[in-house]
Amino acid sequence: MKPKVAFYWCAACGGCEEAVVDLAEGILDVVAAVDIVLWPVALDFKKTDVEAMEDGSIAAAFINGAIRTSEQEEWAHLLRRKAQVVIAVGACAQMGGIPGLANFSNRAGVFQTVYQDSPSTVNAEGVIPETTHKENGFTVTLPRFFDTVKALHQVIDVDYFIPGCPPTPQLLADAVTALLAGKLPEKGAVLAPDQALCMDCPRKDTKPEKLAISEFKRPHEILIDQEKCLLAQGLLCLGPATRSGCGSRCIEGNMCCTGCFGPTSRVRDYGGKALSAIASAADSNDEDQIIRILAKIPDPAGTFYRYSLPVSELQRKRL
């Protein structure tokens, strides 16, 4: 009997599903090797089907997306019970991802912006979506919207992580291959190379031995050299703090690494590591001067914690 595999998505954009489709011809091999018992985007299995399965009967559940609503939390718990192995797929499941930036605010702040302050929204009566709504005696419900976005492992026990926004099809294929061969590494591992992106970077030969940035530039302010190390051009490339395995796709697009692959195994707090890597590149030993140089970075919290605010030491803004 082929091993059973489930795919599920929570607060996500669908980019991780597209990464699966990007296996292109290779997806037929995956379909041949495993028995997919849940893939809401593609197949006909329902929550009741999953509930009816024996606990532990699914070999592996691949779950992408952050946890933003009560419905997503329920699905995460359900799949944890049914699956022997849970793999968090993509930056949102691993670290909260870009939707995790909502932890700078809360439910009330999001609702206020979307349903009240939006310049195109006409809502004099202050209507907001309700978890239970009655209209002419008809009752309809919506899931609860939480104050705080969480990564998957903050809600359930997670066995492995596949990083990236989105992950590369190759990393997904490698994970499935390792699963089928019974060659998954120790629990808790991130299934990608454990070194900084700079080591893999096609421009690494142009990275100076010691970076000395006297002024940080924003990408729209300069014409970006297509060959030279981006940090050496004064741009805020997060390659030194970020795990490799992405194929340097953003660098190939002549733009900076923004950190979607998260940290290596030796780092606890991605944003703290990124900040220290960048701060140490400031070309000064004078504290005031260093502060002046770093002040040119317009949004440090949102930049260094772009994908990882919910799993950072900060977790969220206190409101």
Partner: protein, 491 residues
């Protein structure tokens, strides 16, 4: 209409080809007549809120995460909003590279919907066994070679987007005044080669549609069925000759009779479009400020309008490329104009696929596409900017306000499917009433309700159109205490 003891509730949950989840609640009276149907979107992520405080130049990459299936649309709308914010005009090469990538993306996206998602209802058949009503069924019908051709075409188009934009999934190349990366002569050859293949592929696809759908009177009758028809306003981008344009132009609105009611610069959208909030869905419902929100109703007096392929073809006078124009002529000759039949979106989408491929070819052959001058550095102090594109599923508007450092103070986003939200909700209710009322509910009838919104390629999840497979559906009949009386499941 209180929910009496005999009121039956039918819950369709989850509708899994939507991002997160879509849900439909249908209420029937004791005579089995549908009284009310709710089409709900139980998800929200709040990008407008957490955009605040971020550097404007990061918005193309942040907002692409709204949708991993049409990230290029958000990336491009955001990039154009940056042009407007910094009052900078892209260099000719920068602008052309953007539109080349955008055309490549549109071709990929439309082809995927036809073969993998929307198409199976027609190619395999609306009443075919559910297990076959998916991309594998399509391949069985059109042949394995064609299936491989579809997969390979999508892969090649996405490889080109990655080449120019960094990543097909969440591009990085957009900056105010142009793009981050120039194209080489070798890159141009690759674009030319794939563009020629894409034009051929689009013509082939139009042939498939012709053979399988238009030559089958049952399908044509289905397209024309009253319960799949709404007479509403339509909106879409047109160029200065009133031709369909995905990348730029003016927003044109036509009435249910097909007359232009207004044409406006996208920066003026707040004068013409507003959003309505309902307490039973996280998604807001767009409407035209004139006539205003009159509820979920159709006709010239209602503010409800529609976007996406059928709407774009309704608002335009013609297509800008020769082969697409030819196909457009046949479409109008067959269905009239404006077209109100929701399922005609499938046909319109294939015509747009051909246009996207032809436009891609024009730009790939443009000598200026390899000009190294791909960006103008902005110098203005930023305050406010609006950017618009036609996403695969309709008009997409990004609107930012910033402080003098270019940090976002306010962001407003109107995404494609919000424009269609009211019409989709109406379509689901009308199909439910027309199809289910007084009937013994069967799996086949469920698919008819499903087809009512599938035609829009709803972008509640733009994610919906990314993968093969039929939409799983489960209908539970419950009494008012919520106890399940019976369950129908499409396997």
């Amino acid at each position: 209409m209180p929910e009496s003891t005999s009121t039956r509730r039918i819950t369709i949950d989850p509708i899994t080809r939507l991002e997160g989840h879509g849900k439909i609640d249908i209420f029937l009276d004791d005579a089995g007549q549908v009284e009310r149907a709710f089409f709900q979107v139980p998800e929200l992520r709040g990008f407008e809120k957490f955009a605040q405080g971020r550097p404007a130049e990061d918005m193309p990459q942040i907002t692409s995460r709204i949708c991993g299936v049409c990230p290029t649309a958000h990336h491009m709308a955001a990039t154009k909003a940056l042009d407007n914010l910094y009052k900078v005009t892209p260099t000719p090469a920068g602008r052309k590279i953007r539109e080349l990538v955008y055309s490549t993306f549109m071709a990929e996206d439309h082809a995927l919907h036809f073969y993998f998602l929307g198409g199976p209802d027609f190619v395999v058949g609306p009443t075919a066994p559910a297990a076959e009503r998916n991309v594998l069924g399509v391949i069985a019908k059109v042949g394995v070679e064609v299936g491989k051709k579809v997969i390979a075409m999508r892969r090649r188009l996405r490889e080109l987007t990655s080449l120019a934009a960094g990543k097909a999934g969440h591009p990085v190349f957009g900056l105010p005044g142009g793009v981050a990366k120039r194209l080489t002569a070798a890159d141009q050859v690759r674009f030319q080669t794939v563009a020629a293949e894409a034009v051929e592929f689009a013509q082939f696809t139009l042939g498939v549609f012709d053979d399988i759908v238009l030559k089958n009177s049952d399908y044509v009758n289905l397209i024309l069925a009253d319960f799949f028809t709404h007479r509403t306003h339509y909106m879409g981008l047109v160029d200065d000759k009133n031709q369909v344009n995905f990348y730029d132009g003016s927003l044109r609105v036509v009435s249910p009779e097909g007359a232009e009611t207004v044409k406006f610069a996208p920066e003026k959208y707040l004068d013409y479009i507003a959003e309505h909030v309902e307490p039973w869905s996280y998604m807001k419902f767009c409407y035209l400020k004139s006539p205003g929100w009159k509820g979920f109703t159709e006709g010239a007096e209602s503010g409800v309008y529609s976007v996406a392929p059928m709407a774009r073809l309704n608002v335009a006078d013609r297509m800008a490329t020769p082969l697409a124009q030819q196909a457009y002529g046949k479409y109008i000759a067959t269905l009239g104009k404006p077209v109100h039949h929701t399922l005609a979106n499938h046909w319109a989408r294939v015509i747009e696929l051909l246009y996207a491929a032809e436009r891609m070819q024009e730009l790939a052959n443009d000598p200026e596409i390899i000009d190294p001058n791909v960006r103008t550095i902005p110098t203005a102090v930023p305050t406010e900017g609006v950017g618009v594109v036609e996403a695969p599923r309709g008009t997409l508007i990004h609107h930012y306000q910033t402080d003098e450092r270019g940090l976002i103070t306010k962001a407003n986003l109107i995404v494609a499917t919000q424009n269609n939200a009211a019409r989709i909700a109406m379509s689901v209710e009308k199909a439910a009433k027309g199809v289910l009322s007084g009937k013994q509910i069967s799996e086949g009838l469920l698919n008819m309700v499903e087809m009512a919104f599938r035609a829009y390629d709803p972008c509640l999840g733009c994610a919906t159109h990314s993968l093969p497979g039929s939409m799983p559906l489960e209908v539970r009949l419950r009494n008012r205490n919520g106890e399940t009386l019976s369950t129908l499941r499409r396997p």
